[in-house]
Structures are given as structure tokens and as C-alpha cells.
């Protein structure tokens, strides 16, 4: 392998697509056709390495693969594909990945057309100054309408689609044309080999054998094994132990020059010590200015995680510490709940991030967890002038000390086919949204809303997806804090407050939310041998009430000598299930109730 690569023989690109439009299949084909991975090592969706990614069809961590492609001009090119996370929770990570490459393939299903998330990501690509090559996938399906879809790409996204490449990633049709287009239509990277080292930290992860692995894109200069490098944000200095490219497995390389993408290890202990978007340079003779656009990770959604079995607390602590090593954007601190015992208050980039972390804790560390209501950070302006952050509604102080409460607002951009516009407007209105803009592009509407983040963290995505049958795209940015009439709503089960179900709500919406919550809990709590009042209250005032009637009949009619063994097993299984529930006074609440109660069906 040559030690250096000429800039004009490099192409760096990403693939932008809606879920199910064939992004991963196309990536697999590109890898396969160039012989990067031997046929026997191929497994579907090579780049999505976490189980959760494969199952959900989403990408959480950025991944990369270096492909060597002998082009029709007789030269062999290095193609670096960065597979980016596609979810708004990871918008910042996406923006950094986009800055690391010069072009994008826009994959659109030739029968479905432009959809949902495609837009948010394609605008990120346009923002990053990418050249974009449209690719029409699933062209061999009878329902394919390439001309209509090309027109749509031009109308909605506003890029030229006349040269769109028709392919079928599934059958392999058109893949050579895609490879050729990457070489001929995407620009080569630029950079100066003799300049001081300037590289962007694109992503990092923890590998149990290698420690922290850092993915970089070199902008200027050259990085070599053994170099002393400096992270410009943290000021930390490290020595490069290993330098490699991903094919997608690691292959050592002596140096990486301008335009190249690769990974290194440097005895970094925690992923926390690496910041996505940071600039890496040499310790000595470093570059003068860092790359623009760095932002520290800022958790915006908080919730409590508690072990179902109190004896698992130490295991949960270990698991959270290990996971935190690999995820710098997730924060945690110990919390005690009267109802749930010891646990952690954790901060996340968004709801998907929350679910992913919870899933990983449960699966990879075999823990059963109770998740409390997701909440945002409210700002409490106290009468004495102090401003406090409220991460947990349970910590809400007495209102006599509070002058007013502010909540975070977001600017939400939603693109939706006009037949669903009415439903989207209603949803945003129901969530206390203020309309800021409404425009049309073709048959698609773009609405911009000012929304309270607290209203979005509940189940806004789920609702949006369901009212638009998945045809809406959603993106948001934080807009700062604003005062509103917010109150803490408590839930009482059998007259005992359940602190884990406390939420901050707008006063005008408290009755509706309280009623929905108690109705839902009535469904979720199993009948007991006594009747159970379920109430929602603001302070001492009950605003909604339901009564769960007593269980009247639960007995095995026939039980003789032959039934003892089976019956005992059954009761013991039920007993084990009972132990997984949480005891509030005399009432047992299944953990699923905590999660389900907070997802409102309207």
C-alpha cells in the first residue's frame, strides 16, 4: 500500500436516505462489488454493528469504510464512505460527519419518493456544501415511477435530478454506475500536506481490546504513528499508538494525509475525553485555529433509571459507568426516590437516545429497569433571586418560594405532504405550539413551530409519525427559555403519592393530562383484592380521579392430586412476576405502567 495518497485519487462521501429506502443495502453492495470484504464475511448491513441498530434499522454511531475502486479511467481511487446517524437526536453528530466528507449520495425509493427524514439530512448535506448525486433505488419494482420521483426531488429539494442513477441495490443493478459517479461527479478533497496538522474528530467509541478508538478526517498536514497530538478543546495530549483505516475491519497504515479518513488509538481511557467536532493537531507546531462549529454535548431530556430489584443497584452503577465510557453525550447522577429506591438521574440527547441507552443497559448488562417520566430542565426563578435548574419534578420546591418557572422552547421544522397538514397543525397546537411559518414546496408543506420541549419529549415523534403515516420529517433546534404557567402534577395511587409519576405540566392542560393519566393507570394496574383510588393532584387539589374496582374472582376451579405440580409452578411463576412489581403502600404497580402511563394516546 502506498504511504501517501494523492488528493485527487480520494473521494469522501455519505449516503442520505429515508429508513427502508435501501441505504444499508447500497452500502453493502458497494463494499461487496469492490471486493473490500470477502464474500464469506458478508452479512446484511455490515456497517450497523450494534444489535439495536440492526433491529431498529437505524444508525446510532457513525461508521466508515474505505473502499479501493479501480475506475474506468484506469486509476484506482480510495473511496471513504461515512455512514451517519439518521435521527434528529444525533443532529450534531450528523453535522460533524457531513463536514468530514465532500459529497453525498441521495438514495430515494423510486416508488415511494422523497420522504420524511430524507429532507433533514439532505439539508444538512447541502449546508455542508456537498455535491449531491441522486440515486433512484428499487427501480425494478413494478410500482417504480422514476420520472415522477425525479421531478419531486427537483421540486422539493431543489437539486438537479436529470442525472439521477437508476439502481436496484437488492439485485445489484446499476451499482457500477454509482461507483463511477462517485469518482466523476463528487469533488476530490482539498488540503495542504505541508501545513500544520488539522484533523476533525468525527466520532469515537470504546473497544474492549483497544480502548478508545477515535475516527478522524485529516484536513491539513499529516498524522503518523508515534506522533504526539493535542485535542484543542480539552488541551489533552496523547501519543498515537495505532493508526489504521477501516475496511471495515482495522488495517494498520503508517500515515494519514489531507483528505483521508481513518482511526487511531492513543491510550485514551474514556470516550468522555474525546469530543465530537474537536480539532486534533500536533503538540508542537500545532495549527493556529481550530475548525469552526464545535459544540459540547448538551443533554436535553432527563429521566430516572432505577433497578427493579434493589439488589441490582451496584450492577446498574457499574453498567452506567461502562456505558458512559462509550457515550460522552450521556450524563448521570445518583438519585433517591421514595418509591423506587436508589437509582440514577440520567441526561440524554433526546428520546431515542434515552431508549437506546435503556435498551443497552437491559440487554448488555442484563438489568431490569424502571424508567420514570422523561423531563426537561426547567429554570426556577426563586423569590430570593436565585435561579435553579430543576431536572426532576419530584424535587420541585414549595411554590411559595418560587417566583416563576421557565421552560426550554424549540424551533421545530416539519415537512409534510399537504394532505396531512391539518393533523400536524392540530398536533402542534395541542402541544402548546406557536406557528412561526408555513410555506409550500410542490405538494409539501413546511411548517415551523415554536414548541415547548417538554411537550415534545413525551411522545411527539410517535404521534407525528402516526398522524402522517410516517410521511413527515421533523427537525428542531433549541431556542432558549421562556416563562409559562407551569405546575407540578402528582399522581396518588391508593392515597400514596408515586413520585416517579410526577410531571411538570402547563396549568391549562393539567386536567386533560391528569384525566388521561389516571385512566391509563386504571388499565395498567392489575386489580387487587381491594378497590384502589387513582388520583391526579396539583398540590392538595385533586383534579382527576378513577377507581380501580377490586378483583372478585381468581381461583382454580378444579385442583386434585394430579394438578399440584403444575399449579404450584404456575403460582410460583406469578409470584416471581409479582416480585418484579413495585410496592406503593399496599399496591403493586408493574414497571411497564410507568412507561406506558406517560405515553398519551389522544
Amino acid at each position: 500500500m502506498p504511504a501517501m495518497t494523492q488528493l485527487d485519487l480520494i473521494r469522501n462521501f455519505s449516503i442520505v436516505a429515508h429508513i427502508d429506502h435501501g441505504k444499508s443495502t447500497l452500502a453493502d453492495r458497494l463494499i461487496q462489488l469492490t471486493g473490500t470484504v470477502a464474500a464469506r464475511d458478508m452479512k446484511a448491513q455490515l456497517l450497523d454493528s450494534m444489535d439495536i441498530e440492526r433491529e431498529r434499522g437505524i444508525t446510532i454511531k457513525a461508521n466508515t469504510v474505505r473502499i479501493e475502486y479501480p475506475a474506468r479511467d484506469g486509476k484506482t481511487y480510495i473511496l471513504n464512505l461515512i455512514d451517519t446517524p439518521g435521527h434528529v437526536d444525533f443532529a450534531y453528530e450528523v453535522s460533524r460527519s457531513m463536514r468530514a466528507v465532500e459529497g453525498s449520495l441521495l438514495v430515494v425509493d423510486a416508488s415511494q419518493g422523497v420522504e420524511a427524514q430524507t429532507l433533514a439530512n439532505v439539508y444538512q448535506a447541502i449546508d455542508a456544501g456537498h455535491e449531491i448525486v441522486p440515486v433512484l433505488n428499487k427501480i425494478d419494482l413494478p410500482a417504480a415511477e422514476p420520472d415522477r420521483v425525479k421531478e419531486q426531488i427537483e421540486d422539493v429539494i431543489g437539486i438537479d435530478a436529470s442525472q439521477a442513477i437508476p439502481i436496484s441495490a437488492k439485485s445489484g443493478l446499476g451499482i457500477p454506475d454509482v461507483l463511477e459517479a462517485i469518482v466523476t461527479r463528487l469533488p476530490a478533497p482539498t488540503g495542504t500536506r505541508d501545513a500544520p496538522l488539522k484533523a476533525m474528530l468525527v466520532d469515537s467509541w470504546y473497544d474492549s481490546y483497544l480502548g478508545v478508538v477515535v475516527m478522524i478526517r485529516v484536513m491539513d498536514g499529516v498524522i503518523r504513528k508515534g506522533d504526539r497530538i493535542k485535542m484543542m478543546q480539552t488541551g489533552a495530549v496523547y501519543g498515537i499508538d495505532k493508526l489504521a483505516v477501516l475496511k471495515p475491519q482495522m488495517v494498520d497504515i503508517p500515515e494519514l494525509g489531507p483528505g483521508e479518513i481513518g482511526v487511531f488509538t492513543a491510550s485514551i481511557k474514556q470516550v468522555r475525553d474525546t469530543r465530537v467536532g474537536d480539532t486534533i493537531t500536533h503538540e508542537k507546531k500545532g495549527c493556529a485555529e481550530a475548525l469552526p462549529g464545535f459544540k459540547p454535548a448538551q443533554p436535553v431530556v432527563f429521566c430516572g433509571l432505577f433497578p427493579v430489584d434493589a439488589n441490582d443497584f451496584e450492577n446498574l452503577r457499574d453498567a452506567i459507568e461502562k456505558l458512559a465510557l462509550n457515550d460522552a453525550s450521556f450524563s448521570s447522577e445518583m438519585e433517591t426516590s421514595a418509591a423506587l429506591g436508589f437509582g440514577f438521574r440520567c441526561g440524554f440527547l433526546g428520546l431515542l437516545h434515552l431508549e437506546v441507552i435503556r435498551d443497552r443497559l437491559e440487554r448488555e448488562y442484563d438489568l431490569d429497569l424502571i424508567t420514570t417520566a422523561p423531563s426537561v430542565v426547567f429554570k426556577l426563578h426563586m423569590r430570593d433571586g436565585e435561579v435553579r435548574d430543576l431536572h426532576n419534578p419530584a424535587d420541585m420546591p414549595d411554590l411559595t418560594y418560587v417566583d416563576h418557572i421557565e421552560e426550554p422552547r424549540i424551533k421545530a421544522t416539519i415537512m409534510v405532504p399537504d394532505e396531512y397538514l391539518g393533523d400536524v397543525l392540530k398536533l402542534c397546537q395541542d402541544r402548546r405550539g406557536i406557528q412561526m411559518d408555513l410555506t409550500y414546496a410542490g405538494s409539501r408543506a413546511m411548517v415551523v413551530y415554536d414548541l415547548p420541549l417538554a411537550e415534545v419529549v413525551f411522545d411527539f415523534y410517535d404521534r407525528l409519525k402516526s398522524v402522517t403515516k410516517g410521511y413527515a420529517s421533523f427537525d428542531y433546534q433549541m431556542m432558549g427559555y421562556r416563562e409559562d404557567f407551569l405546575v407540578k402534577m402528582s399522581i396518588l395511587v391508593n392515597d400514596e403519592p408515586v413520585d416517579a409519576l410526577s410531571t411538570m405540566v402547563h396549568r391549562d392542560r393539567a386536567e386533560a393530562r391528569g384525566r388521561a393519566m389516571v385512566e391509563k393507570l386504571k388499565e395498567l394496574i392489575p386489580r387487587h383484592m381491594f378497590k384502589i383510588p387513582i388520583q391526579a393532584a396539583i398540590g392538595a387539589r385533586v383534579i382527576a380521579r378513577e377507581t380501580l374496582s377490586a378483583m372478585r374472582k381468581d381461583v382454580t376451579a378444579k385442583c386434585y392430586g394430579g394438578d399440584v405440580t403444575r399449579k404450584k409452578k404456575l403460582l410460583e411463576k406469578q409470584k416471581a412476576g409479582k416480585k418484579k412489581m413495585r410496592q406503593f403502600g399496599k399496591v403493586e404497580i408493574p414497571q411497564q405502567a410507568f412507561i406506558s402511563a406517560l405515553k398519551m394516546d389522544e
Binding site: M529, M551, R552, D554, T556, C559, G561, L571, Q574, K575
Partner: protein, 384 residues
């Protein structure tokens, strides 16, 4: 080691064949074209000899022929089995020998033969007292046939019990009350009254899954019907002595009491379960469920046992609790504590008492009528 003596010792014999399978039944029953009763006799006798050797010197209090439909057995076969039983164990003076019978006219013709063989208690599967419901339950007899068979049985046996199924499709509480009163008017001293439950693997379960089997009462209605049944039978002098069993005092099924008082019982026949205290400890014993498997096992290997699992003290405590609380008399708390190695959880006992689900008196603890209706929940609270 001798805990079983608190419950006694009985023998259960399983006859696995039926003329037809009822759609609600999840018992181990099979329909066979022809049955070689001599071959079955040899197998039963071999098993009696084998189990007799394991339990040498014990006094046997009860024998129970269950099924299947034991009233399909030839009276000679029943006689041969009971002769062998008498030769094998010391027999209690008041040995109770129960046989389950279908109340059809063909079966009734064999009742005298059973009585002569030594059967002294008949348990009849009447199930309903109207023809439409009998047909829906898949029963082959009519209500009139059942009443006639009952009269013949009364003449032949000291004790006759019958089963009824209630909370049937489209059955109102008032209709059930009337039917129950009609049944009580027949001179009967023991009833098993079962609420219809749809058991997995039955034809009813398949029908229910396919959206059929409509008109079953809601849970609250079923609970009302249960409590009403307790009241009506209690007023008539047949209080519930177990969740689903009612008797005039003294007419209880002594064999079934062995199960609920957690005594020892040997099980012979396909799918028969046993609980036996042997020198090495107490065991749960099983036999193969399929009739052919059991038969070839007995003939080929000289034993019908397919599994013998040791019961720990905790297992025994749980089984005693679960079975004993089915009885109106409840459990002996000292006996339970001796098995469990600890007392019942005090807080749970107190809560259940406050709720009126159980009562503790002197050294016994029992579920109330309301508590027996939700007995599974009561037991879940009390299990460790």
C-alpha cells in the same frame, strides 16, 4: 418425615378412556376403538404389587377410580383390582372406594356389578340438568337419563355425588340458582360445582380463540354466581368444604381430602401423579400420559413411573399451603411452619385478615368465602 400422616394415605387409579372427548375437558382422556381389558388388568395388578412393596405396612383409607370414564371398565376388572388392593395393604375399616361414572343408561347397567366389586361411592358427571346445555357441553346423555341413572345409583351405593358445571354460555344467575335448587331437591349429599373455565388445549379453547364460545359471563357476574352458589348450598345444609365441593357434614370425599390435607397418595395408570413418603424423603411421582406408553413401560420395565422428583421442605410447604387453603378448614399453621421452617409472612397475613380474605383461629388459618373466590391471589401473597 411422617408429615403425610396428617393427611392419610389413598390410592388413585386412572382409567384413560372415554366414549368421546368433551370440549371443555383437559383431563388425560382418550378415545380408543377397542380396549384389551385383560391386558390393562395385568398392568394395574403389576403396579399395585410394585407400589405395595414401596408402602409396605401402611393402612389404606381410600381408593379412587378416575378418568377418563371409569364406568367404561368391566365390573370384573374393577373387582380384580379391588381384590388385589385388599391383598396388598392393610385396609381401613371404613375404606372409601369411589368410581367416576357417566350418567348414561349403558353405564347404569353396570352399577350393580361395581357395587358387588366393592365400590361404595359413585361420583357422577351430570354437568347440567337441561338437554340444550348438555349438548353444548358435548355430553352424550340427556337430563332425564341422568336423573334415572342417579336413582339407580342411589339404590346401589351408600354415597352418590354429582358434578355440575355452571357459569355456562348464556346462563343467567337466576337460571343457575333454579337449576342448583332442582339439583339440591334430588336426595344428594355431595356436589362438585365447577365454574366453566376454558382450559388450554381443549376444543373450547380453540373455539374461543376463533371468536366463538360467546355469552360466557363476565368476571364480576361469575364472581356473583360463585358467592350465590355458596349461599344456596349453605342454606340447604351442604356448605362448601372446598372451593368447588359441597357436602353434608360427614359426607365429604375422603379421598380428595387426602390431596387437600396433603397426605400421601399413590397414582397408578397413565398420567397418574403421586406424592409418596419413602425412606429417602418425600417424592412427586409421575407416569407417562399416553396410555400405550404407560402400558409398554409397565410390561417392559416393570414400573409405570417415568419421573420421581424429591420434594424439598419448602416445596412441601408451598404445596400444603396451596392445597390446604382450598379447604374451609384451612391449614394447620404449626404444621406449615414445621415444613417451611418459618412462619407465614406476618404483614401479608395481617393485610389479608384486614381485607376479610382469611381468618386465623387458634392454630388454624383458613380463607373466607370471599377469600376462596380469589384464592390464587391470596396464595400469591402468602408464598415466600
Amino acid at each position: 418425615m411422617d408429615d403425610w400422616r396428617n393427611g392419610g394415605f389413598g390410592l388413585y387409579l386412572h382409567w384413560p378412556f372415554c366414549a368421546s372427548k368433551c370440549p371443555y375437558c383437559d383431563f388425560n382422556s382418550h378415545v380408543a376403538a377397542s380396549i384389551d381389558q385383560r391386558r390393562w388388568q395385568a398392568a394395574y395388578l403389576a403396579e399395585i404389587a410394585r407400589v405395595g412393596a414401596l408402602t409396605k405396612g401402611r393402612v389404606l383409607s381410600t381408593v379412587f377410580f378416575g378418568g377418563g370414564t371409569p364406568s367404561l371398565m368391566e365390573p370384573d376388572l374393577v373387582a380384580a383390582i379391588l381384590d388385589a388392593v385388599r391383598r396388598t395393604w392393610r385396609i381401613a375399616n371404613d375404606l372409601e372406594v369411589t368410581l367416576e361414572a357417566n350418567p348414561g343408561s349403558v353405564e347404569a347397567g353396570r352399577f350393580r356389578g361395581y357395587a358387588e366389586a366393592g365400590v361404595n361411592r359413585l361420583s357422577m358427571g351430570v354437568q347440567a340438568l337441561n338437554d340444550a346445555d348438555l349438548a353444548r357441553l358435548g355430553r352424550r346423555h340427556t337430563a332425564a337419563e341422568a336423573r334415572a341413572a342417579f336413582d339407580i345409583a342411589r339404590a346401589q351405593f351408600d354415597r352418590v355425588s354429582f358434578d355440575l358445571i355452571y357459569a355456562r354460555q348464556d346462563q343467567t344467575p337466576a337460571a343457575w340458582a333454579a337449576e342448583l335448587r332442582a339439583a339440591l331437591a334430588m336426595t344428594v349429599d355431595h356436589f362438585s360445582l365447577y365454574q366453566l373455565t376454558v382450559e388450554d388445549g381443549t376444543a373450547f379453547a380453540a373455539r374461543a380463540a376463533a371468536g366463538g364460545l360467546r355469552g360466557l359471563p363476565e368476571d364480576d357476574t361469575a364472581a356473583d354466581m360463585y358467592l350465590m352458589t355458596q349461599d344456596i348450598c349453605g342454606e340447604a345444609g351442604l356448605p362448601a368444604y372446598e372451593v368447588s365441593n359441597h357436602a353434608r357434614p360427614g359426607a365429604e370425599s375422603r379421598h380428595n381430602l387426602i390431596y387437600w390435607r396433603y397426605g400421601d397418595y399413590a397414582g397408578i395408570g397413565p398420567g397418574a401423579h403421586g406424592r409418596l413418603t419413602l425412606p429417602e424423603g418425600r417424592f412427586a411421582i409421575e407416569t407417562p400420559k399416553a396410555p400405550g406408553d404407560w402400558l409398554t413401560r409397565v410390561e417392559g420395565e416393570g414400573t409405570g413411573e417415568s419421573a420421581r422428583a424429591a420434594l424439598t421442605c419448602a416445596d412441601q410447604a408451598a404445596e400444603y399451603l396451596m392445597m390446604g387453603l382450598r379447604l374451609a378448614e384451612g391449614i394447620d399453621t404449626a404444621r406449615h411452619e414445621a415444613l417451611a421452617g418459618r412462619a407465614l409472612p406476618r404483614q401479608a397475613v395481617q393485610q389479608l385478615q384486614d381485607l376479610g380474605m382469611i381468618e386465623a383461629k387458634a392454630d388454624r388459618l383458613h380463607a373466607t368465602s370471599a377469600g376462596r373466590a380469589v384464592l390464587n391471589a391470596v396464595i400469591r401473597e402468602l408464598l415466600p
